[in-house]
Symmetry: D4
Subunit: 247 residues, 8 copies
Amino acid sequence: MDEKELRRLLGRLRRGDAGVDEVVGALKGAPYEELGGFAAIDHHRTLRVGMPEVVLAERKTAVQVAAIARKLAARGPLLVTRLEPGKAGPARRAVRGSRYDPVSRTLSRGRMDLPVRGPVAICCAGTSDIPACEEAAVTLGVMGVPVLRVYDVGVAGLHRLLARRGDLDGAVAVIAAAGMEGALPSVVGGLVGKPVIGLPTSVGYGASLGGLAPLFTMLNSCAPNVTVVNVDNGFGAGFVAGLIARQ
Amino acid sequence: MDEKELRRLLGRLRRGDAGVDEVVGALKGAPYEELGGFAAIDHHRTLRVGMPEVVLAERKTAVQVAAIARKLAARGPLLVTRLEPGKAGPARRAVRGSRYDPVSRTLSRGRMDLPVRGPVAICCAGTSDIPACEEAAVTLGVMGVPVLRVYDVGVAGLHRLLARRGDLDGAVAVIAAAGMEGALPSVVGGLVGKPVIGLPTSVGYGASLGGLAPLFTMLNSCAPNVTVVNVDNGFGAGFVAGLIARQ
Amino acid sequence: MDEKELRRLLGRLRRGDAGVDEVVGALKGAPYEELGGFAAIDHHRTLRVGMPEVVLAERKTAVQVAAIARKLAARGPLLVTRLEPGKAGPARRAVRGSRYDPVSRTLSRGRMDLPVRGPVAICCAGTSDIPACEEAAVTLGVMGVPVLRVYDVGVAGLHRLLARRGDLDGAVAVIAAAGMEGALPSVVGGLVGKPVIGLPTSVGYGASLGGLAPLFTMLNSCAPNVTVVNVDNGFGAGFVAGLIARQ
Amino acid sequence: MDEKELRRLLGRLRRGDAGVDEVVGALKGAPYEELGGFAAIDHHRTLRVGMPEVVLAERKTAVQVAAIARKLAARGPLLVTRLEPGKAGPARRAVRGSRYDPVSRTLSRGRMDLPVRGPVAICCAGTSDIPACEEAAVTLGVMGVPVLRVYDVGVAGLHRLLARRGDLDGAVAVIAAAGMEGALPSVVGGLVGKPVIGLPTSVGYGASLGGLAPLFTMLNSCAPNVTVVNVDNGFGAGFVAGLIARQ
Amino acid sequence: MDEKELRRLLGRLRRGDAGVDEVVGALKGAPYEELGGFAAIDHHRTLRVGMPEVVLAERKTAVQVAAIARKLAARGPLLVTRLEPGKAGPARRAVRGSRYDPVSRTLSRGRMDLPVRGPVAICCAGTSDIPACEEAAVTLGVMGVPVLRVYDVGVAGLHRLLARRGDLDGAVAVIAAAGMEGALPSVVGGLVGKPVIGLPTSVGYGASLGGLAPLFTMLNSCAPNVTVVNVDNGFGAGFVAGLIARQ
Amino acid sequence: MDEKELRRLLGRLRRGDAGVDEVVGALKGAPYEELGGFAAIDHHRTLRVGMPEVVLAERKTAVQVAAIARKLAARGPLLVTRLEPGKAGPARRAVRGSRYDPVSRTLSRGRMDLPVRGPVAICCAGTSDIPACEEAAVTLGVMGVPVLRVYDVGVAGLHRLLARRGDLDGAVAVIAAAGMEGALPSVVGGLVGKPVIGLPTSVGYGASLGGLAPLFTMLNSCAPNVTVVNVDNGFGAGFVAGLIARQ
Amino acid sequence: MDEKELRRLLGRLRRGDAGVDEVVGALKGAPYEELGGFAAIDHHRTLRVGMPEVVLAERKTAVQVAAIARKLAARGPLLVTRLEPGKAGPARRAVRGSRYDPVSRTLSRGRMDLPVRGPVAICCAGTSDIPACEEAAVTLGVMGVPVLRVYDVGVAGLHRLLARRGDLDGAVAVIAAAGMEGALPSVVGGLVGKPVIGLPTSVGYGASLGGLAPLFTMLNSCAPNVTVVNVDNGFGAGFVAGLIARQ
Amino acid sequence: MDEKELRRLLGRLRRGDAGVDEVVGALKGAPYEELGGFAAIDHHRTLRVGMPEVVLAERKTAVQVAAIARKLAARGPLLVTRLEPGKAGPARRAVRGSRYDPVSRTLSRGRMDLPVRGPVAICCAGTSDIPACEEAAVTLGVMGVPVLRVYDVGVAGLHRLLARRGDLDGAVAVIAAAGMEGALPSVVGGLVGKPVIGLPTSVGYGASLGGLAPLFTMLNSCAPNVTVVNVDNGFGAGFVAGLIARQ
């Protein structure tokens, strides 16, 4: 409820078109809906944060995911993340026209229809980083934002990245994913004058600490246009890039 | 050097207006300038990343800072960060019209003249977070971006934040600074549909681990529109917010 | 043995009703009972810490759990925690009338009959935190304390929490469970003037460090009425809340 | 503002005694007061969380502390924490009748007048833990709760603790402070059937990690009635104990 | 080779009973024997460190374990540790008279025949710590040292430990094993004037960090007679205790 | 492309043998080849870093590995690392004459033909470190560098290492692998005047932290001729040793 | 109070020579003495753990140290540790005949008169480790145990250690101190068949983590006769070595 | 003592030119010399590890440094590291012709005269990394190895590094120093086919963890020719590079 609605509501009270109880209820009432006791779906979210609620399938059963997905898909575009292939069936059947992508482990349908200003570039250091990148790409797809993929351009072979520099220059924001030493966002950040979202991945071994090593690399980037999301959080990276593109 | 310049240069070579040696030299030559042996100033940076080179005064002497600042100020807006009061004198005198701000520990002069799209909101949890916020604010000032300050609105007193919600709604991006438990970006991220830049600060004690605790809080935010910069990195937060505002 | 019993024992010695050996034995004797060599059951625990000994089923075999459970159930209320479904059968059969709950992974029977002063509220940020909450709820049930569930009220959707504020206000203590960034206890702590027990959960990914991230968030809470228990320790949270309610 | 006030306000609007603008303002208005730009004092806090706002003097100047202290003391009991001796003078002079305690580094005046149910026991392992304990004791004093001090009873000399067991038994809650290995709360928790608040201190050396070692000891306590606060957070421990005592 | 042997060898050289080549070879030769390329067995170890080489079965195949075990058993007592039940068969068959113990996961035969001075007490906090304790007990058995078991005497039920104090007093050294908060060695160390070997175990959950939490507890013990071995290293604890007992 | 090629290309442009578009394309073009969308193979790598691209099989499917291996083997020596036995079949069949080694989990064929200066010694502390060592040995084999194996010479039995000192002295570089406490490189570094490459392994338990403990040991080595690679990174250790041998 | 005293006391009660109140008081009474409110001195400690209470001067004032030292010195040998030179004066004057050693920062007087069995060897890797070693040496001196110093024998120069091997062989226990990589105890442990106490020191830089690196090295030692004390805890190392020597 | 000397010694024994005692003594005798009790100087080190012993001045007094320096300088080249300006005087005066460099904090004189094969390149990311680089450069100078400095070429401005690529190509080894995110060695490693020694520095703030962040970045480098030394360990980096150059 925004101020305009509030004023209209209070106007109705003042004019006698509404009673005190009704107004108190409206002011206290929460715009969410209970769903079988296991989840409160937040239908106002689109208005509030610019995206329908996204379903994190991890730790949910296939049946729960399907129930929530059907409910959400009835009102707008749908995005389910972290959905393992073995758990995707019920939700895919519950939402006609939905598409499951095993690389990004997402289920999605539809796209938001808001004006956007050009593509988001997604680059990654190695092929093992692609699943996180694709999660970002699908997210951007649901947000209606075009995507430029610049994959396998790790810093130990700079010419591959430099050859794709034109693609980076044309983007409104860049997502740079990397595991192991996580140096890609720093190098990309030095090449383009756009916001760069560092996306650390858990790709690596030994002292990569499950992604903490590239995460810290990115946080300490000497390029000042780099911000960072959680390890493997392709959805978050895509969502923020989409918000930047949208404005 | 962009593709247009490259084609012009090659055209001159083809027409015989330039020799091979000259072209080789131009292709290899780096657009930076050696400065007394202690720093390579990067004059192409404005074109490349949208901001003149910023001087990090930490670990430099007052004399070195002044020399670099004078050089940079001759070509555009100036920003020096992490400049302790006791070290600011020479640089301030070297750059006529510069302004030193002891809260943010910055020295600055001028502002970039690029079109921007509305203010950036900077909010923080407590008064001790203000220095980091002001570093962001001065950075945004040099980038020509207006700033809305929403200070001392920590999550343990939600009404203070909710009362300022209108200010957040009107911003194109929000910087949310917090030490201690660092919960502010999550709450702000749930209130506004804009990119939120989490700025962890080293404010806290005991198990705050010098800012690592709020840093991890922000990285794990359940609000998907939150990205994070390094601890106390107000400059980085301001710079990215400025890039978002500029587009 | 308390002072009263000691005085009675010494009185008997003085009157010649007991010999020195008997008194020495009584003073040295431990009020526990050996159980098949693998566990010492502590029957005085109810008197000492206000709760019968609780069985942590983890790392015990189904047969061991059943043997201990039967022994304990013969003397009072029973609570077994961390009991996986596949291991619950023998204990459930061994204790007639016991109830196994697969969500909280507890087996319980009966309740303590002590005066209590009103409900404990249990709130959590997301549906994945419910198992830890239910472990707390079952513990409170065995302690005879009523419970108010306020689930799925994470800080990225504040209105959901604010809508349930009345429930929080009526409680004598609040358990606030959260994984990921773990901000819920800080926000709850700012809303109610009651002890808030932060219950970090291992829900999360990437840099959530198996629950250490929300744990540190809660320890650094800017709300001073928050104390913290171990990750996923729903039993501990419930037990302390029950002690507070009881007094 | 509670529901009663809200209904009264809406009633005035309905009766025409108030205009829409006034009501909108009241609903949006935050019950805090700006103080010279550097702090927002939260006067509703007493009602909301049962304690006047407490001043954390760390990172504030002596003049700022004095200004805030005078303002707060005009409305109720005063507590300033982490106030170094060299910074205490202005605040002490600004608040007539205030008392500065160099051990706990607190400045306080007055006490709240609410019914409480018996003393809180504060025990610590060694003499170096006393400052944190005294911060808790002063906090309890401001809350009007009596305190029993059981100091220097570390677990390497159990008889000292066992000799004071009667004091622990009579308390409604126990604060157990320890640095080094931090084992005291576990032992105390096994002796008394009351909530035990573990207060880790930064006392120790080598691998004590600035208090993280005892902090983790306490979080892993095998006694289920132990909750934990941040390292050296005597104020938090005292405040929660006071809330338990008050109910 | 000790000095006596060296002198004898040099004497032979001097008398012409040995040639230079032989002496050079003897001086350079290592007293070990290659075994199928995968392990160098160290037969001088008994003389050097007072114990035959012990076989760590982890990361070895059942066949490798059996081959090494047979070789070692031909020359003295045998001890194999970390031998999973499924891998024990071949070694047990290869060494007639050997005994496999599934609790401690050891295979052993025989005992050293050296004078020892009284028993070693092994105590642990909970039943889950017993496997590590039994690894220590079997080790002590092979060293010919009698063992007193004092199990399930965690510090949250002090009376259980105090009731067994006599057993501790009679020992020449005490092994104190604990997971979770790991407080037992501190309490034991305060009760007895003997070397106490803290044996942290990986028993615990949440913030127990796989045994690092009790490890740090023990390293920070306020009882000065506590030293510490690696997590779950029952063999090391038993071996050092045996060396103390032997002298 | 090196300067000679660049001059030749520009000469052709100047002479009219090439057009501007061609030169621009050549300058921008990257010397790599797209392979079915999932990997960019870097054929210039041999010239640039002295080694054909090596395939890290981890996180790739058996089919992907085989496709990349066949492509690379067509142009020179082949090395595939981290190839589990169950995944090796297709690649082995795809590359005639290739050899799969299950200990080092490598697939290789051929060797580089460059002048080298003597052997590299590879020593390790225990038999469990052999897989990492063999990965280094196979790498050196592909680089055409002879290898001296000095295995199972841990520092707790110094005579084994001292007996092999001659082998170490004759090497141009030494790889020293160790898990557990990781002390071997320090001792080796003190014995030989050659570069020593510390190779920490994940062999160990308890507080070995998956190889971080020996990693830190090696980084803190008091022998100044020790550098370190990532945990279990036998390929990296072998590659650097090979580069040293080659020069 | 031991069993004999208890029986005598109870006998007096039985004979009427003592009243119940007296016995209750004696049983509850703790054998310690309050000292000016800031420390409870534990006079039974000598009997209980074989050493008079030792004063840790850190965090105590010079006056407090002097008062405690005088009290303790009246009853037996005295040892004060961590006593900075600037704080030693009052205590030295308070205890006639005491000796202050600035290297180990100890104040001591007298020695215990108990039978011991030969020397303890103390070895260290570098000269910077000597202060921790000397703290151990002074402790052993107070316990009446002879000491063999084997200093500056770090593992990067093995011949220095091997040349002193005879000294190690003659000891009943060895303390091995090292900072940096902390490898000394492993090497020493492989040379002698005696308990080796690893004493990590905070000597080092970079990734030595204030002594945690050598601490973890020692905990992961492949020599099974190594136990470990806290970083820089020379007193603890000496005390345990003394207990071993004494038996 | 090498085998030749051993054979000569044994030959003398055989011929009767030496007695058994003399040979035993020679075999046991360590080739070091006691220096006033505080340091054992290792004169055989040059033969053994190819470098005279280097003095780490940290934690030594100015007088101790001077005494050791004079002794060492009498036998060959001298290098003292970590020598603060205020402590350098006595050593500089004690060694005629020595040179103190305040940037690298080294004192040195002379150079070794061994054949070397070309320069070592030292590059760094920022000007703050220069002290660590110069420590490496001075070390290389003492080893007689020429140095190419490539400073201030951080990865956020790639053109600066690419412009100096020729210098890197001509080197036999490259030292790459960086703080903050530490990405330089990965990029350099991808450009040159030489051993690259990553030298992490403590330059940075926030989450750089005193140099651990760039250290982990370098350990996880995707360029396989990178090995790593300890944080700020310029001496170690230079020494290893010198050994590579020498061979």
